[in-house]
Assembly symmetry: C2
Homo-oligomer: 574 residues x 2
């Protein structure tokens, strides 16, 4: 590695990702040899206050990415390699994979894109030790298979004896010299090599030895590798390849609203997904660290608006959502602000990658379009009725759900400025009327009280498309002489619990939530949890069954989340 160990964030450093995260003690031990980890630190492995966790996490600065859920490291490395390529930074990205994890489809999503786009300076090393946790790995030691697979996916393949230092070094030199595309080194290894009692035997995965066993094994290894035994530590810290230019984060001073004003006059309608696209394009134009990653739906999510503005910060990942998130993670870890967008439903395809990004403290920015039954005829497979639940259950996440173009546009800026974790916005397919003035503010953790009076007998909390249903219901109920308050809970996480509970108390202590989403883990449960300690009465309207193909308004009625359902529920609660 060409690596400035004094500054792990040096943007010219080579990058090393241990995709087979369970092997991380070896990495820690190697860093001890070059003086970056002390003996005391090494022996703190897996203890509460240690930075050395059981699998790689960013609590240890030299862990390039959080791994431990297998098959994800190559996508992250690909994102880093694309960053190097497009900015001509010259660093190389190395990713060590296990043979077992090569059964994960996500590996082949990354391999396919890297091969197709001929990404240089990306070097994968497969530690083909034949044994997985519970048996032999899929391709075990059948090297013609590895070679055929990787070559078919567009990679230069080098197969070596992974226990021969001469072959290892030779392959690394050859891989570094190959600039026409990615290179994979298939290393034939044996698990427990050199420890005769366990070498190439099953049953030792993740097992710690008793002290007496460990002593014997260390003796075997010392006998087998006298040169390693003679090694006394100390290794030159590589010189940094060129002057450090640590990039400063871009300040997000204000919202450039012009693009939205041009697109939609007040009083007219625009789809929130389109407002998202307009804002993303504006951000991309104004901020050099804003990127977009797509999975073949840019003309549905409207990320195509951003591609047109700056094609060199747009990455087409094809229909491969797991790799899309991995690439975004790699870009974000190298100091960029990538947005990844697809249908809300399809974030269920890459939930594990999002989960790992959160563990890695990566500020992913995600937008899920076409959310809810309101998409209509395409049917349940396309609907996205669990995205709020998924994304709320991510530590440090933000979940936003705009009801109109102005709030959608402004909250894209809010996401751009949110660096503390994963931020998610869900958008709607249909056009919705613009509710807010262009200068309305939408702070994180806020909400908008849209209807309120001293006579309120109940508070309706809605978000996204159901805000419009709630307003219709409130107006019809008002005509009947029933006053209800209405809140647009655009910030579902964090939720504005203070305003919601205060408004509810003024409305007879009764709340009715309504959402175009399954009840479980959605807006209603978030409100119920927020109101829980107060002893307020919370009633929830949401989707409870498998949906079907039909017109949007039919499905809003069928799911009992339209204005009529709100009115009926209010009547039933009187």
């Amino acid at each position: 590695l060409r690596y400035d160990y004094q500054q792990p964030a040096n943007q010219y450093n080579d990058r090393f990702i241990l995709s087979k995260g369970h092997a991380v003690p070896v990495f820690y031990a190697a860093l001890k040899q070059i003086g970056l980890v002390s003996e005391q630190e090494l022996l703190s492995l897996r203890k509460f206050d240690s930075m050395l966790e059981g699998h790689p996490t960013p609590r240890f600065a030299f862990n390039e990415a959080a791994t431990g859920s297998l098959g994800q490291g190559l996508s992250v490395g690909l994102g880093m390699a694309i960053n190097a390529q497009r900015k001509s930074l010259g660093y190389r990205t190395y990713v060590v994979l296990g043979d077992g994890e090569c059964a994960e489809g996500s590996v082949w999503e990354a391999a396919a894109l890297a091969g197709n786009d001929a990404i240089p300076d990306l070097i994968a090393i497969v530690d083909a030790n034949r044994l997985a946790q519970a048996g032999t790995s899929l391709d075990a030691h059948e090297f013609t298979r590895y070679e055929a697979k990787w070559a078919a996916f567009g990679w230069r393949v080098l197969t070596i004896d992974g226990h021969s230092m001469v072959q290892i070094l030779g392959a690394l030199v050859e891989a570094a010299a190959h600039r026409q595309g990615p290179v994979v080194i298939i290393a034939k290894t044996f698990k427990g090599y050199g420890a005769h009692t366990m070498q190439d035997k099953p049953g030792f995965h993740g097992k710690a030895f008793k002290p007496s066993e460990a002593t014997e094994i260390i003796e075997q290894l010392n006998a087998q590798f006298p040169q390693a035994h003679a090694y006394t530590g100390g290794m030159p810290v590589p010189q940094k390849p060129s002057a450090v230019q640590v990039k400063q984060p871009t300040a997000f001073a204000g919202v450039h609203i012009d693009a939205l004003q041009t697109a939609v006059p007040l009083g007219k309608s625009i789809a929130t997904r389109k407002a998202f696209g307009l804002a993303l394009a504006q951000l991309t134009k104004d901020h050099s660290d804003v990127w977009t990653v797509d999975a073949d739906v840019k003309n549905s999510t409207y990320t195509e608006f951003a591609e047109v503005v700056v094609p060199e910060r747009f990455i087409q990942c094809y229909i491969a959502e797991q790799n899309m998130i991995g690439v975004a993670t790699g870009l974000a870890l190298r100091g960029n602000r990538p947005f990844a967008a697809t249908f809300a439903a399809f974030f269920s395809r890459c939930f594990d990658q999002i989960r790992m990004a959160a563990i890695g403290r990566v500020p992913l920015r995600l937008c899920g379009s076409h959310s809810g039954v309101s998409i209509g005829q395409d049917g349940p497979s396309q609907m996205g009725l669990e995205d709020i639940s998924m994304l709320r259950a991510v530590p440090g996440s933000v979940v936003l759900y705009p009801s109109d173009g102005v709030s959608a546009y402004k909250m894209v800026y809010l996401m751009a400025g949110y660096d503390a974790g994963v931020s998610y916005m869900k958008t709607t397919r249909a056009e919705t009327p613009v509710l807010y003035d262009y200068d309305e503010q939408f702070p994180l953790g806020g909400c908008k009280v849209l209807r309120s009076s001293a006579a309120d007998t109940l508070l309706v909390v809605a978000a996204g498309i159901t805000v419009h249903e709630a307003l219709v219901a409130a107006d019809k109920l008002a005509a009947e002489g029933i006053a209800v308050a209405v809140i647009d809970a655009y910030s579902i996480k964090p939720l504005d619990a203070a305003t919601i509970t205060a408004t509810a108390r003024k409305a007879g202590g009764r709340v009715l939530t309504v959402e175009d989403h399954y009840i479980q883990g959605g807006l209603g449960e978030a409100v119920a949890a927020a109101c829980g300690p107060e002893g307020l009465a919370v009633h929830i309207l949401g989707v409870t069954q498998v949906m079907r193909s039909a017109a949007p308004e039919e499905l809003l009625a069928y799911a009992q989340i339209d204005a009529a359902a709100i009115i009926a529920k209010v009547h039933s609660l009187r």
Copy 2:
């Protein structure tokens, strides 16, 4: 197809899965030609009362599987092909994929297993039309790439002109004759073939034409394909290949508890994951429709107990969770009761497949082991703190969380008998004391009131490992003179709202939930939603931040979900 159209469930029928589900109108139209769909039905496409939805769903009996989220059909077909192989049923399984969806890693997970296991009578057809939704597909019309990829994954490859009926029929005959492994037919096609205004042009994906445009296009097609124009309908219904033997579902009369009794005497401890394995083995022994699918963790989830009993109903999917769920879906759709198990955390890898199984009304049976911070040192990537949230947000699902060996064992039987949707059990890594007698019953939607008195000032609702913390807390609080009720909410969905609210009312109307899971979408929010209409006060203890590696008891304390945290919270609420 050799297909008995009078009985779609005939177990000897060939199977046809349209993995590129958006093309389903073509399938409906084809079935109209052979008289299985009426003109009126065809014209009801995508309407509320129609069985013909926008993407395939089981509301139409000839849709073999719900598709529409891309890249999933091959795994489902693989499960069906394995069913045919292991039962010698002789049917063939055909799966039509788009070229765009071949970028999905899940396709390669399925391809790798089918190739490795040389599964016969599985025929994939790739409709390589070059154009995806937003641009060209990854491999477009580069046929050497398709051929290299599929061959490398162990498939016989036939490349044809997909518009030549002679070549299509020839390839199908050749594929049917090849019994040594799976076969893929790569069909070179053009999107909109024969309609000159749109053939091979982008911008027509998912677009409907105006009536005038449609008329013109139909005229072009009539001119281009006069033979098709002359076709007047009518096609012989294939004869069924042999006598119908529709398998009767096995009755689950009683629980054979002996295996558990042998493994753990009352008063001792056993891990719930081990009790799961013991019950699964017993069920596998007693019921010929119980299968197990694994993703290389059988020695952690203890599904290895089932493998030993009946190896021919055990499928090793290697480290590929998406394909594991797809294979289980295929097996379930062919009348089996497969159980799929991995770490709870890794169900986040296949959430989209689970989502689609629910849309397809498939009774998947899932077990997630090693759930919660209580796994300890392996760290956050392995913890599974969002599984309750995920699995609750699945329509028709059941979510079970046993606290001890008896409840775990018995609830595996409960899952076996649950055919109405996806059932999920989460288990714990550590051993926990047996709380219940062997003859205790655990009905779906029930709970257990473990501590209760007239003096209760609060109800603690726990599940799984926190039940043990809650009992310790209750006993310590009792010693202080503070009486609290304790409920084991083993059935998290459906939740026993009636017992919980009744017990809460008797305990001062106050509830404290505690769970080894993120708060969002978990037990606490489920309880808050259930108690919402009653206006009870609900307080939630759960995980709120990214965890780390440490001893289990340290992490239960750090997450503030241990007995001490419960006691502190109860004190703060007085």
